[in-house]
């Protein structure tokens, strides 16, 4: 479990750790880089939306190589966030509506095989799961 201060200057740290952990789990460099981007996005969302940019808080990131897949969980004790309320990303609509933000969750969903959000009484959990191919899982 990695614990980071809620400061955007540490996003590069979580990204680098995520990339190395994904590579250790069997993903190639390109895939591990995408996983790292998804984790960067999830952590940035916590800082901006759960903590409203407030410094002095903690973001927890847990990595687990589960064999057939690789799981990353980003945890915070900030305000409730509701990504389920976000509409499905569609590039044409995004352009026509002249939007500039809100790309983090769509990126995460495109990169990972599963992105789920849940909330306990005081914590938000963002779970990212990437399935492995047979080769990545170490099977011939």
């Amino acid at each position: 479990m990695l614990s980071l201060p809620s400061e955007s200057s540490f996003l590069i740290v979580v990204r680098d750790v995520a990339k190395r952990m994904a590579e250790a789990a069997g993903f190639d460099e390109a895939t591990a880089g995408k996983v790292a981007l998804a984790v960067d996005e999830a952590t940035a969302n916590v800082i901006e939306h759960a903590y409203h940019g407030q410094a002095g808080r903690e973001v927890f990131v847990r990595f687990e190589d589960r064999g057939p897949d690789f799981m990353v969980e980003v945890v915070d004790d900030g305000d409730r966030v509701d990504p389920k309320s976000l509409p499905q990303f569609e590039l044409a609509r995004y352009v026509n509506e002249h939007r500039t933000g809100g790309l983090g969750v769509p990126l995460m969903k495109k990169i990972m095989d599963s992105v789920t959000f849940r909330r306990t009484a005081r914590r938000n959990f963002c779970r990212l799961v990437k399935h492995k191919t047979r080769a990545e899982a170490g099977h011939p």
């Binding site: 995408k34 981007l37 940035a44 901006e48 500039t100 790309l103 990126l107």
Partner: protein, 120 residues
């Protein structure tokens, strides 16, 4: 941790931006500042040379989206060059590679503007 610098240079009416490092939620402000400075100077032909850009997160994609309307409304365009595989993949994930013209080299991007092809 200073993780992004953005150098600029002008070639006639084209401004070239050279982001060095990475663009994410932490560093995007430096990138936006240079983009905005360019627009304030009424320079709307922009080439972003990504040869020293290691990766770009959604904040960076959003920063470009935030500028592109003003750029194209003023008859200009923003073009990208020298994308590494990581950066190219990120643009492709959400289809952003279809929104901008991407060239292998800076010279080709500059030539595309000089061929009277200033608009998107």
């Amino acid at each position: 941790m200073g993780d992004l610098t953005v150098e600029t240079r002008d070639v006639e009416d084209i401004t070239l931006l050279y982001p060095k490092g990475y663009i994410n939620a932490h560093t995007v402000r430096a990138f936006e500042t240079e983009l905005q400075r360019t627009l304030e100077q009424k320079r709307f032909k922009i080439v972003i040379n990504c040869s020293a850009l290691t990766y770009i997160a959604s904040a960076g994609l959003g920063a470009i989206m935030g500028a592109i309307e003003e750029i194209r409304t003023n008859g200009g365009d923003l073009r990208l060059t020298n994308l590494n595989e990581t950066v190219r993949n990120i643009f492709e994930i959400l289809g952003f590679n279809h929104l901008y013209r991407i060239f292998p080299s800076e010279m080709e991007a500059i030539s595309s503007f000089r061929q009277g092809d200033g608009a998107a």
